[in-house]
Symmetry: C2
Subunit: 142 residues, 2 copies
DNA sequence: CTCAGTGCAAAAGCTTTGCATAATA
DNA sequence: TATTATGCAAAGCTTTTGCACTGAG
């Protein structure tokens, strides 16, 4: 219960600090993304959100996601090239393993950018701001 | 000169083995992707190809890319969620570092999937068929 | 009260598909 | 000659944009 409230308050504060507004639509979108464990695309967010806020429009979802991403509250992922997926920005660096058989997405934490900076010469003088590792294959069941 | 011929012959043979045809359009597309060092999207391939084959259509580019990808001759990358980028499938596992300032793409080899399989528990019993690491940030100049 | 945000509808990319024609094996 | 591939045009999806209205601060 605590984390839910604090996500909401954090969001309100960060939005406010940038002169942006904390609307019920944005609260709902954040809430859904958090519950979705980071693997929802815009349309799924939209469909879930409409259950509670039937007049919400898809463009609001897109615009909110964009703003939240700009503020660093949400990350945009690219599992495939067809649509974006979103997740509440995780505290630690984490990555995704996708099963091509059953579609499940496994997350794992790993400070990969630190590792790469240390081991890859061409990454040495790069200031890495974003890292996305996507691995796909088949899980033990498939 | 040798490698050029052998890419062409390899392509012809692999297509043939699957009952597919080696057309001048496909030869040209492969050639362009190879020269493009792996960072062209479909439209860029199309524009370059039309210089030599003005009647080529964009749908042929897409269809060919799809077939070539299916045969494992070409890899599809997702730098952003808006379009696909293509590269001739590299022999060794390699990844991409993208500068958000000047747009340059730095490639580096690294057997990352082996590393991850070894260090990440949840990846242990996964058969990884594809790995894509995308890191972005700012290069030393930007 | 003011400016950011919303809903709706229309437009804008990128990618795919249907169909008749051309070209490979 | 039998299919596979191509070109063209049209359709499909996801995402973005314009505009008048609403609502948060």
């Amino acid at each position: 219960m605590k984390s839910k409230t604090s996500l909401k308050e954090d969001t309100r504060q960060i939005l406010g600090a940038s002169g942006l507004r904390f609307t019920k639509q944005r609260a709902l979108i954040m809430e859904i993304i958090r519950r979705g464990q980071g693997h929802l695309d815009a349309d799924e967010v939209y469909r879930q959100a409409r259950k509670r806020e039937p007049r919400l429009s898809l463009s609001t979802v897109y615009r909110s996601l964009q703003k939240l991403k700009g503020l660093g509250l949400v990350d945009e992922l690219h599992f495939d090239g067809n649509h974006h997926h979103y997740e509440v920005k995780p505290a630690s660096e984490h990555h995704h393993l996708i099963c091509l058989g059953c579609g499940q997405v496994i997350e794992f934490d790993y400070p990969l950018s630190r590792y790469v900076k240390r081991h890859v010469p061409s990454a040495k003088d790069f200031e890495i701001t974003e890292t996305e590792l996507r691995m796909s294959g088949y899980c033990s069941k498939c």
